[in-house]
């Protein structure tokens, strides 16, 4: 039997498992192939929902569904933590058992991990909306925040959903205006490089909007440490910035599993950016945030990569030569306030065009978020 193992039950791993269940339907039913999805979390989490939690528009429960409800019955689902990858012997080891699992092809889809502890004072002094607990704490803090200085600081690059910090800033500006509190709140957005975003067209778009909406912009701003008592940020460049409410995008890291297996530094898997095959080992792929490719760590990337890798895995399982490749396709909706949004798409080496924000695009984004569960099932 040809065994395909997928580690990680986020967007990439779940879409991939379901695509394979469809593409290898006959082989699975004949018992010639096994598709096994291994995830440490019995719940699947749709992280973009967390952006709306601080504003009271969504709840953490809205972001979560049991993964067994999303995965095709032909996929073997294992809820367990993979603790080791032996790429020489094609074997996985687990946290709570002494046995190991052989694979013929392996896909790592373990995502990105928040690492606020790498910046002194950040965990104590900063809020974020990149996880369920952080989003709920920020919701409570924001509800009581009626005056002072709100700082949105992008501390770590790369991070999940590169659009989200700009979105949050524009949304909180609008949200405070709706409540008649904007005059009493200063807003500052900070970014590590010499513009407001890694992509130049987004940076230009955001810079103009920030100026229109009286949002301060600080660039070349790399947080060295946060003093929670003094409510002060100190930067590598020698600057200081005081805050009353700090919303920070924490540094991210990949997976220890990756580093320990020698597949890439900082936990990101070194891959060929078109085939998504690991450069340091045979029979290993990576998709989603954990794959080190020159595009965004975004759900759409994981989705498109999953489609490509499903084709490549299915070809190999049938003894054929894989031909599908990933061109860097990325699609993002960007909220420009509480009721308007824009939309971008690009591939490797392309600069996106930012459309004029509109209400229909905002509703399209909310509509996509609702239909995401069909995406996870591999239907969209």
């Amino acid at each position: 039997m040809h065994r395909i193992a997928i580690v990680g039950g986020g967007t990439g791993g779940t879409v991939l498992a379901n695509r394979l269940a469809s593409e290898l339907r006959r082989e699975l039913e004949a018992g010639e192939v096994e598709v096994r999805l291994i995830t440490a979390d019995p719940n699947h989490v749709y992280k973009p929902t967390f952006l709306y939690v601080p504003f009271g528009e969504k709840t953490v429960d809205d972001a979560t569904r049991p993964i067994e409800e999303l995965v095709d019955r032909r996929v073997t689902l294992t809820v367990d933590e993979v603790t080791g990858v032996d790429t020489e012997r094609n074997r996985l080891s687990f946290a709570d058992r002494t046995t190991s699992l052989h694979y013929d092809q392996l896909v790592l889809a373990t995502g990105a991990t928040l690492a606020p502890e790498t910046v002194p004072g950040l965990a104590e002094g900063g809020h974020h909306f990149y996880g369920p607990d952080g989003a709920e704490r920020l919701r409570d803090e924001l509800a009581d925040f009626t005056e002072g200085h709100l700082v949105l600081s992008v501390v770590g690059v790369p991070h999940m959903c590169p659009a989200a910090p700009v979105e949050f800033t524009l949304m909180v500006d609008d949200w405070l205006r709706e409540r008649g509190r904007r005059e009493a709140v200063d807003i500052t957005y900070t970014y590590p490089i010499n513009r407001a975003h890694g992509l130049e067209s987004i940076a230009d778009w955001a810079t103009d909007l920030f100026a229109e909406r009286d949002i301060n912009l600080e660039t070349f701003f790399n947080v060295d440490e946060v003093d929670p008592d003094a409510e002060l940020i100190e930067t590598v460049e020698g600057d200081e910035l005081g805050y009353d409410l700090l919303v920070a995008i924490p540094p991210h890291r990949g997976s220890d599993l990756v580093t320990d297996a020698g597949l890439g530094e900082d936990g990101w898997v070194d891959v060929d950016r078109h085939t998504l095959e690991a450069t340091a080992a045979d029979d290993v792929y990576a998709i989603g945030d954990v794959a080190d490719v020159p595009t965004s760590k975004a759900g759409s990337v994981a989705h498109y990569e999953a489609g490509v890798v499903a084709d490549r895995l299915a070809s190999r399982a049938r003894g054929e030569t894989p031909t599908a490749t990933y061109d860097g396709k990325t699609v993002c909706f960007l909220e420009a306030g509480m009721d308007e949004a824009t939309f971008i798409e690009f591939a490797y080496g392309e600069e996106p065009y930012v459309r004029e924000p509109s209400k229909p695009l905002h509703w399209a984004k909310l509509g996509y978020n609702e239909s995401y569960w069909l995406t996870a099932r591999g239907l969209l």
Binding site: V157, P158, P192, I193, N194, G198, F220, N222, D224, V236, E237, G238, P294
Partner: protein, 79 residues
């Protein structure tokens, strides 16, 4: 500019797209002692303008930018 032949630290960011090389540099410089000479290897043309701009802002010294066949070597001294 001073010709640099033997840097203390080399950061290989070839193949990384903007702002990868600059972020690699910023991440590393934090942990280095003053006087350390760093060589940043980058194949991203924007680094040849972004990196000097950041060095000036952060107070480090640009020593030399050397153009090779397929990349640039940017030398700097940590202040």
């Amino acid at each position: 500019m001073t010709a640099v032949t033997e840097p203390d630290v080399t950061i290989d960011s070839r193949g990384a797209t903007c702002p990868g090389p600059l972020m690699d540099l910023i991440g590393k410089v934090k942990s280095l002692d003053p006087g350390t000479v760093v060589e940043l290897q980058t194949s991203e043309r924007n680094s040849t303008t972004d990196v000097p701009e950041w060095l000036e802002k952060a107070g480090h010294d640009l020593l030399e930018i050397e153009e090779r066949d397929d990349h640039w070597n940017i030398y700097l001294e940590v202040d």
